[in-house]
């Protein structure tokens, strides 16, 4: 574990050097992400200027949920973004060979190789929204909220990552699976809003099948209302552990089926 952390730091340092080669590009990217979020929030603002609340949730509560959803998403984006490349081209082009000829875990190597700094845009906006809405709502913060918040974020991030690992690993059999990852990943947007706005099918789907609801709405609603800690936080932990185990199994099986490319 220690060695992994050290390696990770070295990879990050290398990646940052690499990034400095493309400073302008990186800055525009990060600003664009920020801008996109600002526009989305402005949109919410416009809607709430016309209605008092959304199915019982007031504007600041929606902002809190929205902000919370950005934190695990941003963490996953920051640390585990290279998984996208596995599904889109690393396997198809046979570049996965490289990861298999190194004396470190291939999943770890793929993940550690990239450090997506533009995710700071999401994390920043998420934090601002959480702090702002907490202040506006005058939420009382008890001491155990802080460790629970960290636990929720860590395991929520793992839900994102597990879904990406499992869907990227499909590429070991089908050569490319980026579009499948995309399809599943897009469901995460459902978690930005209270699940009560959806019909039963969608609600079941994002709670039990692709449990993105545990990445934002459920944990966030616990911090807002203090109700159902077992389901909201415990569910997040359980869902993410189960998913992660499954996805690592798929990944390890996938490596055995990997066919490389060309000659």
């Amino acid at each position: 574990m220690r060695r992994m952390l050290r390696l990770h730091r070295i990879f990050v340092a290398q990646y940052m050097k690499n990034l400095m080669e493309y400073k302008v590009d990186f800055l525009t990217g990060a600003i664009s992400f920020l801008l996109g979020q600002v526009i989305q929030i402005a949109f919410l603002g416009i809607i709430f200027s016309q209605i008092p609340d959304l199915v019982g949730w007031e504007f600041n509560e929606i902002l809190f949920i929205y902000g919370f959803s950005l934190i695990p998403k941003g963490m996953d984006h920051l640390l585990f973004d290279n998984l996208w490349s596995v599904g889109y081209f690393i396997v198809r082009k046979g570049d996965f060979d490289k990861y298999l000829t190194r004396p470190i875990n291939s999943l770890f190597y793929v993940i550690a190789e990239k450090f997506c700094v533009d995710a700071f845009g999401e994390l920043l906006i998420g934090l601002i929204l959480i702090v702002y809405s907490t202040v506006q709502l005058k939420l009382t913060i008890t001491w155990y909220m802080i460790p629970l918040f960290i636990v929720a974020v860590v395991f929520a991030t793992l839900i994102y990552t597990s879904i990406k690992i499992a869907t990227s690993a499909i590429a070991f059999w089908t050569k490319a699976s980026g579009h499948i990852t995309h399809m599943f990943y897009m469901t995460n947007d459902f978690s930005k809003y209270p699940t009560t706005i959806y019909n039963k099918f969608v609600r079941t789907f994002i709670t039990y099948i692709v449990p993105f609801a545990f990445t934002a709405f459920y944990p966030a609603s616990f911090f807002l209302t203090g109700e159902n800690p077992l389901f909201c936080i415990g569910g997040t932990v359980l869902a993410s552990v189960v998913l992660f185990t499954i996805s690592v199994c798929i990944w390890n099986k996938g490596i055995k089926a990997y066919e490389s490319a060309g000659s």
């Binding site: 690499n18 060979d97 298999l100 000829t101 190194r102 004396p103 089926a257 990997y258």
Partner: protein, 338 residues
């Protein structure tokens, strides 16, 4: 050191029927064809040997290398290197090998070359002192100093290959796998790379397994070759054995003044040769005869031919290694296609 036993690898390949109907069908019920890329290959390589792996495109050379390096999992059969089974304890195993794929680089594209080495140092856990010594040695053999500070994307192909080989040797591996290390390089650079490989093998006793299309690589570097075609091993031995085994075959080629004269040539009966000893092919006035010079001397062959027919042009070719291999490839292909 390296034991390969009855190694096979099958690939599934989707068959697509043409037309829109075929595409739709393939979407719901894909059809597969099993392709045997490697078919029951066995060999053994002792420590410190340089083994050349040759064969035509698509023969399965790279597939074998990829199984030996742990990238691909064999469908059946086993390989054992240094007491490791590559797929089983991959992470431990790969610490003992170095791999270079000539067609792709393991270097960090946008960073100075030096950076790649410092990352690899960490990945392979090379201690500082050893790392310094290693770099000094590799630098001496591969002359990296001229470009070690340049970004990898600015290196020439030859420089990049030298850098790649150095990268694969940084952790002092016991076995070095080189997949087409001289591909696309000019003559001088090839020479350079060959010298470096030879030096590393001589000084460190590194076992080297290389695949190549360049037969000069083989003649200059390898004590032994394994030739495969269509996934099967077709030859395994010293280059000299190969020459001896196939080398006495000669090609006599000539053009007749009169095409009808061909009926006058009765090599088999007149010189008492069997089907294995000679083979005659003709296309209009051009005749080519392949014969075994152990069974019938070149002199007899020539005088018999010239006594029977008038020729415009005649030429006798000795089989060099390239010719032997070409013949072998051809033979395998034609056997299979009949």
């Amino acid at each position: 050191m390296i034991y390969v036993n009855d190694l096979s690898k099958e690939f599934k390949k989707a068959i697509k029927e043409p037309g829109l109907k075929g595409s739709v069908k393939a979407l719901f019920k894909p059809n597969y064809e099993i392709i045997k890329a490697v078919d029951g290959i066995s060999f053994h390589v002792p420590k410190g040997e340089m083994l050349g792996f040759i064969g035509p495109n698509g023969a399965g050379k790279s597939t074998v290398i990829k199984m030996l390096t742990g990238i691909l999992t064999p469908t059946s059969g086993t390989c054992e290197i240094n007491g490791h089974i590559p797929q089983e304890n991959r992470q431990k195993y790969v610490k003992e090998i170095g791999v270079v794929f000539g067609q792709r680089t393991q270097l960090w594209w946008d960073l100075a070359l030096r950076e790649t080495y410092s990352v690899l140092k960490e990945i392979y856990d090379v201690p500082d002192k050893e790392f310094k010594e290693r770099m000094a040695f590799l630098n001496e053999v591969l002359e990296l100093d001229d470009f070690i500070s340049s970004p990898v994307r600015t290196l020439s192909l030859g420089q990049r290959m030298r850098a790649d080989i150095a990268a694969s040797l940084l952790h002092n591996p016991k076995v070095l796998f080189l997949d087409e290390p001289t591909i696309g390089l000019d003559v001088v650079v090839k020479e350079n790379i060959r010298n470096a490989i030879q030096k590393i093998n001589a000084e460190e006793g590194t076992t080297v397994i290389l695949t190549t299309h360049d037969l000069a690589d083989i003649e200059l570097l390898c004590n032994r070759i394994v030739m495969i075609d269509k996934g099967k091993k077709v030859f395994d031995g010293q280059i000299n054995d190969l020459k001896r085994e196939f080398g006495q075959m000669r090609d006599l080629k000539f053009e007749l003044m009169n095409t009808c004269d061909i009926s006058k040539l009765n090599y088999k009966e007149d010189l008492k040769l069997s089907d294995d000893d000679m083979k005659l092919e003709s296309e209009k006035a051009i005749v080519s005869v392949r014969f075994d010079s152990d069974k019938v001397s070149v002199e007899d062959m020539l005088s018999y031919t010239l006594s029977k027919v008038h020729v415009k042009d005649i030429n006798l070719k000795d089989a060099d290694i390239e010719e032997i291999i070409r013949r072998l490839y051809k033979r395998e292909v034609s056997i299979d296609e009949v």
